[in-house]
Symmetry: C2
Subunit: 264 residues, 2 copies
Amino acid sequence: MSDAVTHGGALWVIGLGPGEPHLLTPRAREALDAAERLYGYGPYLNRVVDEHDPRRMASDNREEGARARQALTDAAAGARVAMVSGGDPGVFAMAAAVCEQIERGPVHWRALEVQMIPGISAMFAVAAACGAPLGHDFCAISLSDNLKPWALIERRLQAAAEAGFVMALYNPISASRPWQLGRTFELLRETLTGETVVIFGRAAGRADEHMRITTLAEARAEWADMATLVMIGSEQTRVVERPDQPPLVYSPRFAPGCDPEVSA
Amino acid sequence: MSDAVTHGGALWVIGLGPGEPHLLTPRAREALDAAERLYGYGPYLNRVVDEHDPRRMASDNREEGARARQALTDAAAGARVAMVSGGDPGVFAMAAAVCEQIERGPVHWRALEVQMIPGISAMFAVAAACGAPLGHDFCAISLSDNLKPWALIERRLQAAAEAGFVMALYNPISASRPWQLGRTFELLRETLTGETVVIFGRAAGRADEHMRITTLAEARAEWADMATLVMIGSEQTRVVERPDQPPLVYSPRFAPGCDPEVSA
């Protein structure tokens, strides 16, 4: 261990899942309790600690790099530090931001104990709320063109549609990115049929959860907000209507013609 | 509610995560405790209940359809039934099998209460153990050609490689599918450079967890077994070597040229 790192410091990057206690793992809860400082986006911290908790170091949504550096600085000084992420920290979230800063930062940061603690991601919470839309091959794409050129996003959407992946679309819309989701629907309508299942999954796994199940022909960008994950089915994704129960959406495990229980 | 369904029956499809109690959600634990019957693949059931638990209805790995029908029959008769899955039940697992049987089965099964309870999937457990390899756009592909034609799998691997997705490969190898992973590496070497990061993640999140980090040029199919998830990085995925700590593998959140902290 490097001399520059005080013995005992550690950084835990914690996935909170959807935010309700019943979907927070015991491992995550244990790390939150043991931490001497808690970093994260304010609304996520509010899900797990009291607003007046003296350990609380809330920051804005856009400051991931600076937040990671502060947390690493504290950990290198000997503190047990937690960094919280909604969902899973490895999916378009803080785990990559921490790794980036470790690579770029002072060399003694590399001697730190860093642990990523997984959580229930938004895509799996939405899938569970609807049935099993991710039951076959799938992909996850962030629609945020703060992070990459829009042309690259279009190329990936096109490739995923042509190859038959179900798609989970993160960061579908925001005040500063108002047109990207509408453009995504337009683009996908060129490759997929209008009957393709589309899910608008809002606040999945929380008390105010709301799932809207529609088709690509009908889907409208204004049905999404920053708390929404949008899922695009493959041509095989099906909706099972049920009396007195919400519909089930699922993607069969088998490609057409490959299910031994169904004759071709 | 249909007359054919006895009041009170329910089917909970439960994600166990990697299998250790500290990554099992309270919601999953609660459902396991409340269930009157527990269905699932024997080794998965062993992770959460005693071998002599009278509620235990273990079955073989290959019998998903029959297992789902038995569980639905019990639930329709009024029992509170749990079906366990390793990882997340919505990822190449029991949630889709249950939906398939509901669609095909007697119409009164559609009136049943069915809840999917998400879990920590193998891909996120492997990612957490290594750093943040799924920090940018990614996909999940099952290499099992029991479920779909091999040509379709090759098409998806090719599409994912060309479009720059990180890939999580489920079901990489088994006694009855011995050559598919080797062929996958061969195929990907035609599109990706030999330096592309490859992770063999075995038993992630469990006591005997083992991560092997290598390159596409070096990767050998015999390093995987049925407990392994194989991850293929994108051209941007990086390895940060660390003294006295395991290396960190991560995929930057930003595409090349889009990171405001790094001048082009």
